[in-house]
Amino acid sequence: MSSTRVVVTGLGATSPVGGDVPTTWQAMLAGTSGIGYLDDEWAESLPVRIGGRVAVEPSEVLDRVKARRLDRSSQFAMVAAEQAWADAGLEDSGLEPERLGVALASGIGGVTTLLANYDTLLAKGARRVSPLAVPMLMPNAPAANVSLKYGARAAVHAPTSACASGNEAIAMALDLIRLGRADVVIAGGTEAAIHPLPMAAFANMMALSKTASGEEGGDPTMVSRPWDTARDGFVLGEGGAVLIIESEEHARARGAKIYAEVRGAGISNDAHDIAQPDPEGRGGTRAIKMALREGDVDPATVVHVNAHATSTPKGDIAEGLMLHAVLGEHVDRCVVTSTKSMTGHLLGGAGALEAVATVMALHDRVSPPTINLDDKDPEVDLDIPTSRRELPEGDIVALNNSFGFGGANVAVAFGSVT
């Protein structure tokens, strides 16, 4: 493996708990839920009527004319990329376009644009379908739009591995830099799938929690409850997050602020089922091991995991098995959390938003809590704090795990920088 060291120099996010990284991060540390009842008219006819809408509408931030040419997923990506770019101090940095890449994922692509245009086709005829429909709905649209904004000419990738997509984009950014194909990569993920069709589909496959969606009501903020015995599925969230991934040499040369090091990444596949995880978590275990090996990480230094844990019955247990298999006795010293308890599941955006949280946890040496964990599943033997928890001093490593429909497993290991 190349000895090129790779670091994170900028962060951006728009999420159900905040319109930027500082707001999102503070909300996560405080244990604030971004889940609520959906006030859309269509939601009334669905079996599940809760979700995590972004805290700040992109229309409040983006230029109106530019925004109308972007699917909502691209809007989130653009908002997050603009924040990350500014945070990294890359404006007027003299970075050559041929050394700047983009790896920006979504799980489903521009599904709301696709379906809105189909509605138009049926209601008004072919003539009324937008000429922009395809460039708006294609799954690489968020990556392409961000590449256009910053003139990124090294590469433009849009990995799609369902709920692992955002994390896979970060792994891809690491590769691009280690292979010498770029010095800086704008990496992340986005998703905007709060629409009746994907929600009905997820509900019908029993993936979404149906709690708090019945006539009797309930508290939507308590529905996403990873590892709790009462968990019964995930809550759909939306949003996007972007990390500026950069070779350490390039970052140091321009005097950039460095949040964390990207130590290594592991990618594997279950080849078990199109939707269900391998119940023993063997694929995920291999991905995590690979990330640690690639980063030459001593398992004893892994003190924090931002878990994939979506609040589904099987997946949450499998992830615990993976961590035990990889960390062994050291798992007892590892603080594990699921920020999805607050944000819901951002699908292709999840791995990126959680990477931002993982990096911030290392940077501030504190883990956000997992909320709604009132009665921990006895099959899960992990240290999961229900309020923020300080992380130790010294050289520490944190893992970000993401697993997707189709079987993809992606783990990224980040290291502290002093």
């Binding site: 230029d63 109106r64 004319v65 109308r68 008004k124 003539r127 009324r128 937008s130 000429p131 922009l132």
Partner: protein
Amino acid sequence: MATTEEIRADLADIVNEVAGVDADDVQLDKSFVDDLDVDSLSMVEVVVAAEEKFGVTIPDDEVKNLKTVGDAVAFIERSQG
């Protein structure tokens, strides 16, 4: 029957919505491409929105003849007959 000015004003609102051009700039002598920076895809959107707004049909091979706002307004007036 809409007046030329009424058609121009409605068309200006469409161009503003689609391309973000200030509606006051959308005057009869302005070229969509050269003066108003309306690209080809935006022009398709303007045409489709205009068809809906004015109840006319603007064939694809006619669109290339609509170089200025005045060309478009005149075509719409003729089509509305």
